[in-house]
Amino acid sequence: MTRRIVVIFAVLLVIALGLASYAVYLKRKVARDEDLAAQQQLAMAPSANGPPTPVTLYIASDSDATLRKSQMSVVLPEERSERARAVLRALFGSYLQSPSPHPIGAGADVRDVYLLGDDTAVVDTNSVFADKHPSGVLAEELTVASIVATLNANDSKIARVKILVNGQERETLAGHADLRRFYLAGNIGQVVKDLQ
């Protein structure tokens, strides 16, 4: 290589390294800001008043690959979609505790639940939920089935469920479970039965 090429190479390398460092810095800043926004969002969530109401959760267990019905008391908001969100956050809470029967990524949360018509729920999770979810056919199926079955158990009109990640459609949860489709509570009912 001639001296000129070496100099050009060195200059370009320095520029590239500089830009790469800046990109990493910006990426980390974006992540920090998103976390902050998520925390603010949690803080802005409407506070529920009133006595705790018993809800039904379908809790997954990795050790014996089961999905079992469980009761818990949760303070529920009045609005239907907010109630669905509160129930799912109670479900996530049981997975986020330590020790967990079915660990999901620390920081996983339900951003919103949107109801389309009477029978369809669109669950918008945060990116941590999918990014840090343990990968595996059974692990992912347990999560999906517990979400759908729990929603249906507490609001029997919800017959179809779609799961979004950070407002976007994803191909799979963590490499296996299909997130492009609407799940039918009737179909998941068969899975729940098999996993009892």
Partner: protein, 494 residues
């Protein structure tokens, strides 16, 4: 709160900066690469020929030396159980029909032990991400020692011959009008043939062929002027040159190829006299010229899909045990077990290639297998989980036009039959198992009977998921389960 409201103002500038960095990096790497390419060709793959199989293994350039992965090199030839232990790498290998052998290597050292003997590698052993790599120059000796057989390496062509060895072809020119060049092989061959004016080229990708005489031969013949044999990147090529257009014919059940002058092109149709009786065929015309093409024979083969690959490692069964490696090893065992039961099987992925879910489904549907088996591994639960697609029942005929997202719905009954049979075989071997419906991609998109099998560790010791004995039992169960219901699965016309 809308999904967009949490987006940071930095989101817009980040892609711009990242794109600029990537472009400059690529330019820098491209400049550097172009200089490197001018000096040394990048190594890519080694082709291994053995009596049982022919396969290709990717090669890596590590510190200027060409290396090959030990597991990738040995797995197609037998059962491999390899695991790192600190800086050491212990390998147990049992060739098909052979006895167990052991070898031990140390990261950064050129001293190894193979079958209890000290063995010096031509360069240091490399342990990267739990995978062991040996210098390519050591591959021949290692295979010969572990297989207790002869091995021959053609370095220039990156072709390694194990066991039965090289099949050498002979050339015999028979002069005449026209002259004929007879190329004789010890066994039938099936090369790719390409022709151009004055040249015909045979490319051998799977046959262990090499020249019996010199690689380049010149003839003083008015038609055929020369033959040239070469090997490169794991393939062999034979070029025959001539002074006129050449053609090739097979004889002796594919053991002989005859190269001779191509017939002159027929005169233009307009110059031909009109047929005397255009509507009647000649009663004594050769039957083969008038017979319609026979429909292809139905076949039965299983397509095995080892999930994930490349940067998609799947589940981290343990920090040193990615799902993609566990399932590739299992897939090869299942293929062997099926072959031992007389069932042909192909692997959708034979190396560490990244294939998207849609590509997997498209490839599987194009191959038209009698059965599709996806293999997964995870550390959730214990034992084996057998899945069929979670789809609403649909009244679809397998012969009708099938929607992509629910193509599997037409085959659910047969898929369930196979899953039940595999579960029964797992029970028979006392392996804990569960049969479930699963919302698994690309199972939904497969237009054939299809199951997925996910293995979990058999005990609390997670690394046992990769043990030869456990994987063999699972592979035997899957193969026996498929063999038991083979008669119920339709053979498919290719």
């Amino acid at each position: 709160m809308s999904p967009d409201s949490a987006r940071s103002p930095y989101s817009a500038s980040f892609p711009l900066a990242a794109s600029a960095a990537v472009i400059i990096l690529l330019a820098v790497l491209g400049l550097h690469r172009s200089n490197l390419d001018a000096q040394t060709p990048a190594p890519n793959q080694l082709t291994v020929y053995s009596p049982q199989t022919t396969y290709s293994v990717p090669l890596l350039d590590i510190k200027g030396q060409t290396y090959v992965g030990l597991v990738e090199l040995l797995e197609p030839l037998g059962a491999v159980d390899a695991r790192p232990d600190g800086k050491k790498y212990k390998l147990h290998f049992t060739a098909a029909g052979g006895r167990p052998e052991e070898a031990q290597f140390t990261d950064g050292k050129d001293k190894a032990k193979v079958r209890g003997d000290n063995y010096k590698l031509p360069a240091n052993f490399v342990l990267q991400n739990g995978r062991g790599y040996v210098p390519l120059a050591a591959a021949t000796n290692l295979l010969a020692k572990l297989l207790s057989t002869q091995a021959e390496f053609h370095a220039a062509g990156r072709r390694l011959f194990v066991g039965a060895g090289v099949e050498r072809f002979t050339l015999e020119l028979r002069t005449g009008n026209p002259s004929r060049l007879l190329i004789g092989f010890p066994s039938a061959v099936n090369p790719t043939i390409a022709t151009e004016p004055g040249r015909v080229r045979f490319t051998f990708r799977r046959e262990p062929v090499a020249a019996a005489g010199p690689d380049n031969v010149t003839y003083t013949d008015p038609l055929i002027t020369g033959a040239s044999f070469s090997e490169h990147d794991g393939i062999a090529e034979l070029d025959i040159t001539g002074n006129a257009p050449l053609m090739a014919n097979f004889a002796d059940n594919g053991k002989t190829i005859i190269v001779t002058a191509a017939p002159a092109p027929p005169p233009p149709v307009a110059e031909q006299p009109p047929p005397a009786a255009a509507t009647q065929s000649a009663p004594n015309a050769p039957a083969s010229a008038q017979q319609p093409r026979q429909p292809p024979t139905p076949r039965f083969f299983v397509l095995i899909d080892p999930a994930h690959g490349g940067s998609d490692i799947g589940a981290a069964v343990s920090p040193s045990l990615p799902e993609k490696d566990v399932v590739l090893a299992l897939a090869r065992r299942v293929q062997r077990e099926l072959a031992s039961r007389g069932i042909a099987a192909a692997l959708l992925r034979t190396n560490d290639a990244a294939i998207s879910l849609d590509q997997r489904a498209a490839s599987a549907n194009a191959a038209r297998p009698a059965l599709y088996v996806a293999l997964h591994a995870a550390n959730t639960g214990r034992g084996v989980h057998v899945f069929t697609a979670l789809l609403p029942a649909a009244n679809l005929s397998p012969k009708s036009f099938l929607p992509w997202d629910t193509a599997q719905a037409a085959f659910l009954d047969l898929s369930g039959t196979v899953a039940g049979s595999v579960a029964a075989e797992l029970d028979a071997r006392k392996l804990p198992n569960t049969t479930l419906l699963a919302p698994l991609r690309p199972l939904n998109n497969i237009a054939a009977p299809a199951i997925a099998v996910e293995i979990a560790p058999p005990s609390d010791k997670v690394d046992d998921i990769a043990s030869a004995s456990y994987q063999d039992q699972v592979a035997q169960s899957i193969a026996a389960g498929i063999a038991a219901v083979r008669a119920k699965l339709p053979e498919v016309r290719p």
